[in-house]
Subunit: 152 residues, 2 copies
DNA sequence: CAATCTATGTCATACTACTGACATGAGTCA
DNA sequence: TGACTCATGTCAGTAGTATGACATAGATTG
């Protein structure tokens, strides 16, 4: 076929499998959230705000794995829909702390229930040991990809 | 804070960690491929064709985890750039088998080397056992998310 | 203090991938 | 044979996200 070392064998590539898994997860979540008129990033933003109220645009962006420009667009939509609020001017610096409104909290609760169903289904075939292994292995891969070394 | 069961704790969520890992991988691959003027899907398509020549548009789409519409657009670009070729009319049915040109193969070899660097870095912090565990666990998660049951 | 660096919020623009839709070919079955 | 189902290729329109650029605030450093 081809000389050794020229191509990557996708069937045995961990990167390919990781992409496959994350695609399956994304599709399952999109399917679960679509009836609620919510995207994954939309949901992710609300979930972050519920756990850590007052997060800034940039912090929400990092937590949702998008750029701060994308999060900025999303926050304007969420503000217009009445799911979040931001002060007109920054209390300190340029950072605008974001808060969940009661309406946003109710939307989150519905979304969270839908997403939990997906997460539980994903965990279904794994033993308790495997879940721990998975967390640890993924964290190690993340560190390596970011160029970090020790587990802090 | 909040009543139990209302929200998902992202720090301990395997889904969140999976998203984080796939984002880190995607960013590392984009960074590696950018100097070559190639996107991940672009690369993925060429890699699939090198391993399984004659794949159709729909098959390439499934293997690259995009819709067949997206792959169709990409294939037209790759055809215009001279990286792949497709017959003018289908030998059988509507399926147009795609082939890599010598130019496309050279582009793939450069891209594959760059991507292999990323994959090796990702694997760096893992033992041989962990790599096997990771493959097995990811495959199990994929099956569960797709609603399949037994390991075939 | 001034200069520099870093992080942030925001706008405009471009790209990537998606959904919706349609026509066509192959297989199935009554 | 004809009706049905399914997969495919393709076009058009839309949505989500990214890149590029700018101004500004805080921290750092000489």
């Amino acid at each position: 076929m081809s000389q050794d070392g020229e191509i990557i064998h996708l069937d045995t590539s961990l990167g390919y499998r990781l992409k496959e898994a994350s695609t399956a997860l994304r599709q399952a979540m999109e399917e679960a959230l679509r009836p609620l008129g919510m995207t994954i990033t939309h949901y992710s933003c609300l979930e972050l705000l519920a756990q850590r109220p007052g997060l800034s645009n940039s912090e929400l962006a990092r937590g949702s794995f998008v750029t701060r420009q994308s999060m900025n667009v999303l926050l304007h939509t969420l503000e217009r829909e009445g799911h979040v609020t931001r002060p007109d001017e920054a209390p300190v610096g340029k950072v605008l702390p974001t808060s969940l409104t009661p309406l946003g909290r109710r939307a989150l609760e519905r979304a969270s229930a839908a997403v939990r169903g997906v997460e539980l289904r994903m965990l279904d075939g794994l033993t308790e040991t495997e879940r721990g292994d998975a967390m640890r292995i993924l964290e190690s891969m993340i560190r390596s990809l970011r160029g970090e070394s020790a587990p802090r």
